[in-house]
Amino acid sequence: MEKKSIMKKITGSREALLAVILILLCLVVTAISPSFLTPKSIIELLKNNAVTLVMSLGMLCVMLVGGIDISIMSTLALSGMSIGMLLKYGHISNTFLAFVIAIAIGAACGAVVGLVISRAAVPPIIATMGFMYVFRAMGYLVSHGGEWAGAAALGSFKNFATSKFLGLNCVIWIIILCYVFFFWFMKWTRTGRKIYAVGSNPSAAEVSGINVKNINLLVYTIMGILAGLGGALQVSIYASAMPDMQYGGEMDVIAACVIGGVSMSGGRGTVVGALLGSLILATIAKALPLVGIGALWQNTIKGVLILVVVVVNVVLQRVADRNALKGREM
């Protein structure tokens, strides 16, 4: 009983620390650019980082079981490009249908990745590296070898990202819905808890009757679904589908999770952490051009900031672990 309350405090304080970092960042940016914390600017920030925000939820699940997925942006490109071409050549025109198709393609990609990793026991980084090439190439094939679907070709689909529902931008609604769902799913459903169990101790999970293979399949499928959704969002937000979109963007998603305190070795990480990590990354990306430093320095600073946040996180975790052990000895 006492142990549990200590653990709760620790996880609570780690996210509190991230929140403090985020608030400090926001204050600094506001000092440079006073309009940063206006509703319009915040909506813009969320919209421009919707893909990372949504997909870091999937990466959270994958990393919780000790895996990694670097094929996600190829899945995004394949699903986004597919609906882009379908819309361009008039095969579909319904926005909802386009989303469903993108998500279905993403789910299929994720399921294939999950099957290879869980059933053939291929290490996740190798398997997803392979699929990174395969899905990206398929994206190019779908695009007839590099064709774009521009704003004019996307018809009413692109309006989704500019329209509002109950006074709030639709893209923001999607982000909120995803986070609310995953907050509930990870914390209060049996499957959510199983994901944590598999990540903390796979053999113990196996012994306790959890089908570890199916959980592995599930997390990569979830990642695929969110990558498909990300593809649809990307195409709608930027009103453009290109086969090379988000090339290299998987690193941003992984970085968001790592900043948010998700452990690379599994078992540790929360939905709130993923959210804070994504927001910190988004704030840095928006702030750096405002500060007026050279382009090459911007990437350097972005990297250094990521490292600082992660190191602080790791050090705190170590302190917390030591304290927890102390409690146990007594």
Binding site: S33, S35, E44, N48, N49, V51, Y140, S143, H144, G145, G146, E147, W148, G150, A151, A152, A153, T162, Q234, I237, Y238, A239, S240, M242, P243, M245, Q246, G249, A285, K286, P289, L290, G292, G294, A295, L296
Partner: protein, 342 residues
């Protein structure tokens, strides 16, 4: 069933192959075999030029073999060139993946009596006989700067949204704009406030555009000489109903929605080279090399079909080039038609 199908296709191909030279007898490329080497497969933009090259040569009675290396590297192109040299075409026209790495192979080709021309992206001056340049650096800089002057109404702040800070072509155009601006008084009221880099990513380009507007509330024009950057900026400016306008280099199909003279559109007009013209001119230049009308020396002239007469000029790298001309302007009048092509 399958065999029948295959033989039917083969028969069809033979008939076509036999018919083509007969149909276009006596052109400047009559009976000539030309190999066109691209950078890599899967670039729709390049294919416009490649198709135009092929059509032009075929209309003049020759044949073109378009070959793509398996990857966008110099190594992969060297493999392709090895194969081609053994097949002995009359000429090779190449868009090079590397400036210097292909020199040995291309010299080997020239020693074997194969003419070597290049377009789109040039190998160094010793690796080629002539380079067909889509648009001279100066002409691009001039066209873009004049667009900025025109759209801003002759004065005010403007900014550049580029791709990456290391992109050689982007930097060359930006430098050209800067030097033209300093050299002429009519640009004296224009103030270039910043060169921002969006890394050719929509997300980063959007952040950079937002930051430019934030930092310079009086910004009148953004000039984005990159296709991804201009589309992202156009979307941002148009969605926000910004008073800041846009020009640059872009793809018509991407920009169609944003091109217009009124306040509802963010981009009055923009530029890009004429890829069809580039393919056509390259075809005629290569044919002229084969026929010995030109050797690639400075000041030689030749006729490029209905494109007219062209003179070989000195290139920036010390070699020679043929400059296609000024970049093509896309505006409300031609955007719809051009969007179908590019």
């Amino acid at each position: 069933m399958n065999k029948k199908l295959v033989s039917a296709i083969l028969c069809g191909a033979m008939v076509l192959a036999a018919a083509t030279p007969v149909m276009a007898d006596g052109g400047v490329a009559d009976g000539k075999k030309i190999a066109l080497v691209g950078k890599s497969a899967g670039n729709a933009f390049f294919e416009i030029a490649a198709n135009s090259f092929k059509e032009t040569v075929e209309a003049e009675g020759g044949t073109v073999d378009v070959v793509y290396p398996e990857a966008a590297t110099a190594d992969a192109q060297i493999k392709v060139l090895d194969n081609l040299i053994s097949q002995k075409p009359d000429a090779i026209c190449i868009s090079a993946n590397d400036v210097n790495a292909l020199q040995a192979k291309l010299e080997e080709a020239m020693d074997a009596g194969i003419k070597v021309s290049s377009f789109d992206s040039a190998p160094n001056k010793d690796s080629r006989q002539v380079f067909v340049n889509q648009a001279g650096t100066k002409q691009v800089g001039q066209a873009l700067l004049d667009a900025v002057l025109d759209i801003s109404g002759g004065e005010g702040q403007w900014a550049v949204l580029s791709a990456t800070s290391q992109a050689a072509n982007q930097n060359a155009w930006i430098d050209a704009m800067k030097s033209i601006m300093e050299g002429d008084d009519k640009y004296s009221k224009l103030e270039l406030v910043e060169v921002a880099y969006g890394d050719d990513e929509p997300q980063k380009s959007t952040d950079q555009t937002a930051a430019l507007l934030e930092k310079y509330p009086d910004l009148k024009v953004i000039c984005a000489p990159t296709t991804v950057g201009i589309a992202a900026a156009a979307k941002y400016l148009q969605d926000n109903g910004s008073a800041c306008k846009l020009t640059g280099l872009g793809l018509p199909s991407e920009m169609q929605e944003y091109t217009g003279d009124d306040d509802a559109h963010s981009c009055p007009y923009f530029y890009l080279w004429d890829m069809q013209g580039l393919g056509k001119l390259s075809a005629y230049a290569t044919a002229a090399l084969i026929n010995g009308d030109i050797t690639g020396a400075l000041d030689e002239t030749f006729t490029a079909g209905d494109l007219g007469d062209y003179t070989i000029t000195e290139a920036d790298d010390g070699g020679t080039e043929i400059v296609l001309g000024e970049p093509l302007q896309f505006n409300t009048e031609n955007i719809e038609e051009m969007a179908k092509l590019y």
